[in-house]
């Protein structure tokens, strides 16, 4: 028997194929590892390695998974010697001369284009507002710039910082970071990081590029741990030091202030009577002696120092490195313009995500199966029951296809939305099945038309019920990217796909079966 398919059924098949293409796309055929982040200002970055590229070959070794990638660097750089490393990317070749592992992170190439939300893939999200102050929209935009810059300088690549507004007009800043949560995320985004260098309570310079033209980082000749010592009360502490360069103005200020200071002679040498005091958020970090030679000098190079302590030597080193990193970041990016307050902070572990998705699939499968059985018991028709299940199943695939096309991050609310859609979808298909049996004196075409008038009614009520969620800036809008927008978006996509594509195809299938 030759079955002629109507154009509505063809449309469903085509959209279904396109959705599958959108979900699996080229990604699943590609071998290699995906670069998930590149440290800015590193050699790797300068040579053109970027987030999102796929490495297929290193030094003519084929790279098809993470293991290959790790193996490629086995035994390299053992004597701190620079080596030549040739990366083969999609179409380009990138060569690095380096004496350490390239500062990039990689992951296996994902097998689908579907992106999971923070609550399933792991990561952090923070919503921040100013303490005791209502921020205007432009103030929040400035804040977003400073904070993105700060996180960037700190070395966080995979992030998204955006301004958001709620219905009452309050402005917030939202930060989303994929993957592991940086240890001092809270510090970085909520502490102002107001750095001031003072001599006798007069400010010489502050953090930020107006006063500080450059900061030495990742260069052992001008930045690093100087030495570690036993602390008096037990434990250890380590000193760090790095040089910075001041602007002309700041250097002149230094000259003016030091000019009038007297010189003290000590056993260690001759120093000025006042010290250079370094403050971070109004706390004294360190006090540096100023040598006699700098009196009244317009000097642009200054050494900043500080220390970190811990129970063990290693702990003290880590702590000192962290402190140094933090100070460097603050000196480069300057202070945040406002005192901030974190009003929402989620850091989600990726550990349970996979199992979670497994149980969602199981739940979906069991639910669909149960629906199939009920439909079969009610109508006693294998074909109709199968058609109904297939239609619902293709609806899921089309929703996922659209989600990966618009790069929607699938989070829990989105999944709830998909379930809701499938539920109403099945309901509407039952209406179609029943209308087909009902009032047999009408033509099947007329009967299907009637079914559709009910379905359209139900469709519009459902869409308008979702709209407030999308409009509402907190639940939908930008903040909603993580909160509830997913629910509204997948529901609206789903029921619209239903009314435009799957339901018409299903009615045609039923018409064929009834004839």
């Amino acid at each position: 028997m030759k079955i002629k398919l109507t154009w509505k059924i063809w449309l469903l098949i085509i959209v279904l194929a396109l959705s599958l293409l959108s979900i699996f796309g080229s990604a699943s055929f590609q071998k290699g590892v995906l670069i998930t982040s590149v440290e800015e200002n590193s050699t790797a970055f300068e040579q053109g390695l970027r987030k999102g590229q796929i490495i297929t070959e290193i030094n003519s070794n084929k790279i098809s998974n993470l293991e290959d990638f790790t193996n490629a660097f086995q035994g390299k750089f053992e004597n701190n010697q620079s080596e030549k490393i040739i990366f083969i990317l999609d179409k380009t070749e990138i060569i690095l001369y380096t004496n350490k592992l390239p500062q990039i992170t990689v992951s296996n190439v994902p097998s689908t284009n579907l992106k999971l939300g923070l609550d399933l893939a792991g990561g952090s999200r923070a919503i921040v507002q100013a303490q005791d102050k209502q921020l205007s929209a432009s103030e929040v935009r400035d804040l977003v710039d400073v904070v993105s810059n700060r996180l960037n300088v700190y070395g966080i690549a995979d992030m998204n910082v955006v301004p958001v507004t709620d219905l009452s007009g309050n402005n917030f800043m939202m930060i989303e970071i994929a993957g592991a949560t940086p240890k001092d995320l809270e510090q970085l985004i909520s502490k102002q990081g107001k750095f001031e260098a003072k001599i006798a309570n007069e400010t010489v310079f502050i953090g930020g590029d107006r006063d500080v033209t450059s900061v030495c980082r990742n260069d052992a000749t001008c930045a690093g741990i100087e030495g570690c010592f036993n602390a008096e009360g037990g434990g250890h502490y380590c000193n760090f030091r790095f040089s910075i360069y001041l602007s002309e103005d700041a250097a002149k200020r230094h000259a003016q202030i030091t000019e009038n200071l007297s010189v003290n002679s000590t056993a260690q040498g001759n120093y000025l009577s006042e010290k250079l005091d370094l403050y971070l958020d109004d706390n004294l970090v360190d006090s540096l002696l100023i040598s006699e030679g700098l009196k009244g000098m317009v000097t642009t190079q200054i050494t900043i120092s500080g220390s970190g302590s811990g129970q063990t030597r290693d702990e003290a080193i880590t702590k000192a490195e962290e402190e140094m990193h933090h100070l460097q970041t603050v000196l480069i990016t300057g202070s945040l313009p406002y005192k901030l307050e974190i009003i929402k902070l989620d850091s989600i572990s990726p550990v349970l995500g996979k199992e979670f998705i497994k149980s969602i699939f199981l739940a979906g499968f069991v639910a669909l199966l149960a629906v199939g059985i009920i439909i079969f018991i009610r109508y006693r028709k294998v074909k109709s029951s199968l058609a109904l299940l297939l239609t619902s199943f293709s609806e899921i695939i089309i929703i996922l296809g659209i989600a990966s096309l618009i790069e929607w991050n699938l989070d829990l609310p989105s999944i709830a939305g998909i379930l809701a859609t499938i539920g109403t979808g099945i309901d509407q298909q039952i209406i179609v099945l029943d209308e087909a049996k009902y009032s047999m004196f009408l033509s099947i075409k007329q009967r299907m038309k009637r079914a559709f008038s009910i379905i359209l009614g139900a469709y519009f009520t459902a869409v308008v019920a979702m709209l407030p969620l999308v409009w509402n800036p907190i639940t939908g809008g930008a903040v909603g990217a993580g909160l509830l927008k997913g629910f509204a978006i997948t529901t609206i996509i789903g029921i619209t796909v239903g009314v435009l594509i799957t339901r018409p195809a299903f009615t045609d299938m039923v018409r064929k079966m009834e004839k």
Binding site: N170, L345, D346, S349, L352, E355, I375, G423
Partner: protein
């Protein structure tokens, strides 16, 4: 048999309305008393009041931890997450009104190890944000309901049948809320979203019924109602069974999804009552009056 049911329904359909009226009255009184004693219509969880939720990948016994930390963490409550098949405990969830940094310190001290993204998840919502979140969700809910009501009026363009659909949907929500309260469930943001979903689910069958009764000519009133009843109950039953099964599987894993499913399952039960008693009776009353 069919004839007998028809006769019985013709005689008693107005009396049947007493069931939803009594339930609705009870709900109003219950919610009223609840509101006067708590200042709100339902219990809210930390996503709506503010607080910290910690997921700890550990095999600790939740009750022990709850008892041990009662004094240090404000309004602490715990539950476990386990594999549905092996029944093995995967994690415990700790909810408290205490803020996240303090919670972290208290837990690290108690457990004796550092908490990082490999062994735990932290979710903190400040009370100002969650309060504004709550307010906005309520606004979204009310606006959604009004929009739905408008669409219903536009579809049927006649007052009593439209009002019947809207009353049934409203009764659904109010009865569901009451039962959720009686069960002692603390509503989260997801719970409010579930109520939003309920609007869609409950109106579906009402629209089906009203269309069949008002816009069709064939058959008498009772057979049109009965036809709609057959279709509608199949719809609701499939949803109900699918949601209940999903609930059983997912409840071991996700608080968010299991709350959504619980509320929808309760709501669908009341939808059966409100569509096939409340809405049918009002509609039949209206249709018979019009015939005369």
């Amino acid at each position: 048999m069919k004839q007998k049911i028809k006769q019985w329904h013709d005689k008693n359909y107005k009396r049947l309305l007493l069931i939803p009226i009594i339930l609705l009255l009870f709900s109003f009184i219950y919610l009223g008393v609840f509101y006067s004693s708590t200042g709100d219509f339902f219990k809210k969880d930390i996503s709506l009041t503010g607080g910290t939720s910690v997921t700890l990948y550990s095999s600790l016994v939740p009750q022990t931890l709850e008892q041990d930390l009662q004094l240090q963490l404000e309004e602490i409550s715990t539950r476990q997450i386990y594999d549905i098949i092996t029944q093995e405990q995967k994690a415990i969830i700790i909810e408290t009104k205490t803020e996240s940094e303090i919670t972290r310190t208290v837990l690290e001290e108690y457990l004796g190890y550092e908490l990082n993204e490999k062994n735990s998840s932290f979710e903190f919502t400040g009370s100002t944000l969650s309060q504004s979140f709550y307010k906005q969700l309520l606004i979204a809910l009310i606006v959604a309901f009004i929009f739905m009501a408008l669409v219903v009026f536009i579809i049927f363009r006649s007052f009593v049948p439209s009002a019947a659909v809207i009353i049934s949907a409203l009764a659904d929500i109010i009865m569901t809320l009451t039962l959720v309260n009686i069960f002692g469930i603390k509503l989260s943001t997801a719970g409010i979203v579930a109520i939003l979903m309920l609007i869609g689910y409950s109106v579906d069958t009402d629209i089906l019924l009203t269309t069949r009764v008002l816009k069709r000519e064939e058959g008498d009133l009772n057979s049109r109602i009965f036809g709609a009843f057959k279709t509608g109950t199949t719809m609701t039953l499939t949803s109900l069974v699918a949601m209940a099964l999903a609930l059983v599987i997912i409840s071991s894993f996700s608080i968010i999804l299991s709350q959504i499913f619980t509320i929808i399952v309760i709501g669908l039960f009341f939808d059966l009552l409100n569509t096939w008693i409340t809405n049918v009776s009002i509609l039949k009353w209206y249709a018979l009056k019009k015939q005369k």
